[in-house]
Amino acid sequence: MPVDETLSTYSDWCYGSAVGVYVLAMLFSLVDQAFGRHGTRQAERTERTRELVGAGAPVEPPEPPERPEPATSGRAERARRFGRMAVALTVLGVGLHVAALVLRGFATGRVPWSNMYEYGATLCLAAVITWLVILRRFAIQHLSVWVLLPVIVLMFLGGVVLYTEAAPVQPALQSYWLVIHVVSIALGSGMVLVPGVVSVLYLIKVRKPEWAGRLPAADVLDQVAYRTTVFAFPIYTAGVIFGAIWAESAWGRFWGWDPKEVVAFVAWIVYAAYLHSRATAGWRGGRAAAINILGAAVMVFNLFFINLVVAGLHSYANG
């Protein structure tokens, strides 16, 4: 099937705009992060719960209230308005991002995740949507800047270094597993980037409190990281299993320690360790957060280093 050049150009245009809008959202959110009043209020709230809970019982951190409490100064209120605009812009960015992928799909007549550029875009989309979903449950939109930053970097690299002309796919990829396997892997890996970032913030909050006045309470961060990881992990696991099922019919074996398989396995082990660490005395808290960061790092390593430097069977890496 021939590639529709016009649609493909529109797709590129949407991609560029999405990145631009994310950058704007990041700047707005930066204002919120810098001047909104966050850290103190959150800290107070945790104190209140502590009293309520009493000694000895496991702490279940409260979830933030529906509306932020009235800000005390005009400047803080203005900053918070920037924060809300940042969220609105992020939603707009997601719209453009989706459009970019859909248009590419129509341009090529196949699913839009068959090379590094497209796969990276899909993964970033998963990450941003994950963040928006988190924002519906936790009032931490001033942290958007930290999530958008890596997404923008990834998308910039994808658009500039890894950009690939729209093209049809080769025989190994002509299978419905391309949809099932890649969607679940992209969703799983995109989602876990967010807890990776949040865990970095957690470590800063716990180890260097003097830098972290404006971050939410440590257990809020811990909850965000944990809940997101717990959601993403089974999806990722399923994605790896789907990959194995596909490999059985495409490559002649379901598992062969191909570099991509090895690192997928390593990442899986690291996340399994994360879940276990939270049930192990002396590991929960800081060490668990460090493991979560390691997991996200292994995922990114798999995406870039393994695809670009180590040759494997995954043909999208070199296309």
Binding site: R48, A167, R227, A250, G252, V266, A273, L275, T280
Partner: protein
């Protein structure tokens, strides 16, 4: 001694050890992604060792080029396996006990629990208890009489979490076991079959070009089946990228072997032929040029041998087609007269100067650029030979000499000084097939599915408790009323129990919610 063993066992089966073992396993697996591995690419391993001297040899000795078969990798894996069993056995017993047990007694002071609400009602204790039982349908309950006419219910829910967790871990054990068994009884073999109606039968390892048996496979009783490759179709995009491959094959197995029945199948990438517990894959394809050599005595020999594609964008291929002179019985003389036609094949030839290149993977204008070699091919030396190359040592020793170099199109020929004629007849396609056998892979899949289901169950379900205590009191104005106190506790660190607890409390205390001290409740969306 016993104490030592017991301590070792305790240490091995503790969560902390399991964690460390998990990390070790992840760490140990990494070199396999970063260093070349023998079973994937033996050539790359040799190159790596040659390029890195003593360091390469040391890595080799330590098993870094066969990571997943190395002693250290297996040791970690085994320890983890043992640790897993050690964790699981006691937990299974506890689980069985908990299933039969009753929810724990209501704590004296419910106000100290993480979730807590309190209220008063005009309803009597019995009524409150009945309401609570109705509300808590689906929870495991016990009701108890307490002092002073008070009554309490303790309720617990989410036992499925532990079930899911055990399913997950047992599935992992099963998976590891099935993988290990698979390693024993599986085999894999590769074979090149010309797409001109040639046949391949899975009758023994000798039928393969390469064969990798499992530890318990000696190649004597392979599944009996035969495959015949009649035709091969390939489509390429104008860019030269592959678009579609199909081998039209026929196969026979079981009774068909006796009756001689052949059944057709279109073998495609992603769509293996599954027969009698074996799978046949289309892994690759390429070209096999046909040469006919007419020897000085007038005898002719024709051979069609696969040449190996060196560039998958253009299918430029290299190879060596080897001939024994007919009618010569003296081995010494024969070794003077052996012939090899070796060089490059291009399906769509372009000549750059005198150098042959290929412009497209389809056979639109095939040509070969060959050296004809005469002398001793070294085929009787006892050393194995690549079918794609001549033995360079024979050339270096002067026992094999180049007697012609020429570019040929189909129908063209080379006449050698002794009257031998080498004729390029044309070209045939070949299919590169793989046969795989793994009796346990269905089990592996089953365990993998169980693993995911167990994981999802154990990560989404919360084990949680709620207690309700109703105490009769006499109010200041003398009427009898009931104080209802609720306490709640989630036993796992999954948050979000606050919402559910809040709803239960609302339902039970609805008559007088304004009295209740509100725990900051979850945001409901």
């Amino acid at each position: 001694m016993i104490a030592f063993l017991r301590n070792t066992w305790r240490g091995l089966t503790s969560m902390r050890t399991a964690l460390i073992l998990l990390f070790l396993l992840a760490l140990a697996a990494m070199p396999g992604a970063l260093l070349p591995q023998r079973d994937l690419n033996a050539g790359a391993v040799e190159d790596y060792i040659a390029a890195n001297g003593w360091w390469g040899r040391l890595l080799d000795r330590l098993g870094f080029f066969d990571v997943y078969a190395s002693v250290w990798f297996s040791a970690i894996y085994l320890l983890l396996f043992v640790s897993l069993i050690g964790c699981l056995v006691p937990r299974t017993f506890e689980y069985a006990k908990a299933l039969r047990g009753k929810p724990v007694l209501t704590p004296r002071n419910l106000a100290r629990l993480p979730h807590h609400r309190e209220g008063r009602t005009d309803a009597g204790v019995t009524e409150v208890m009945a309401g609570a039982r109705r509300r808590l349908r689906g929870w495991r309950l016990t009701e108890r009489e307490e002092d002073d006419g008070a009554r309490s219910i303790s309720a617990e829910r989410g036992y499925l979490r532990e079930t899911g967790n055990l399913v997950f871990h047992f599935a992992m054990l099963g998976l590891i076991g099935a993988l290990a068994l698979g390693k024993m009884y599986q085999y894999e073999g590769q074979v090149i079959v010309l797409a001109d109606g040639s046949e391949f039968c899975n009758s023994g390892t000798y039928a393969y070009d390469s064969f990798q048996p499992g530890l318990r496979v000696d190649g004597t009783d392979l599944t009996q089946f035969c495959v015949r490759v009649n035709d091969f179709t390939a489509n390429f995009l104008p860019s030269g990228a592959a678009d579609y491959f199909r081998a039209d094959i026929e196969y026979q197995t079981g009774e068909d072997l006796e009756t001689g029945t052949w059944r057709p199948y279109a073998l495609e990438v992603n769509d293996p032929l599954r027969i009698a517990g074996d799978r046949v894959y289309l892994l690759g394809n390429g070209y096999a040029p046909t040469f006919t050599v007419t020897f000085p005595n007038g005898e002719q020999r024709t051979q069609t041998i696969q040449w190996r594609p060196v560039d998958l964008q253009t299918y430029l291929s290299e190879g060596a087609t080897k001939f024994d002179p007919p009618g010569i019985t003296d081995p010494a003389e024969r070794r003077e007269k052996q012939i090899a036609v070796t060089g490059l094949f291009a399906p769509t030839a372009v000549l750059q100067g005198n150098v042959l290149a290929s412009a497209f993977p389809e056979a639109r204008d095939p040509a070969v650029a060959v050296d004809v070699m005469r002398g001793d091919l070294g085929t009787n030396s006892g050393r194995g030979q690549s079918i794609f190359e001549i033995d360079q040592r024979m050339v270096d020793q002067g026992r094999l000499e180049r007697v012609a170099r020429e570019n040929l199109r189909p129908g063209e020929e080379i006449r050698l000084d002794d009257g031998t004629v080498v004729h390029f007849d044309g070209v045939e396609r070949f299919a590169y097939l793989q046969v795989s056998h793994d009796p346990t892979q269905v089990w592996v899949l089953g365990f993998a599915v169980a693993l995911v289901l167990g994981l999802v169950t154990s990560l989404t379900i919360k084990r949680r408790r709620v207690w309700v205590r109703a105490t009769p009191i006499t109010d200041d104005d003398g009427t009898g009323r009931t104080v209802v106190v609720l306490g709640g506790l989630a036993r796992t660190d999954q948050a979000g129990y606050g919402e559910e607890f809040g709803r239960i409390a609302d339902d039970l205390l609805e008559p007088e919610p304004e009295d209740a001290e509100r725990v900051p409740a979850g945001r409901e969306t």
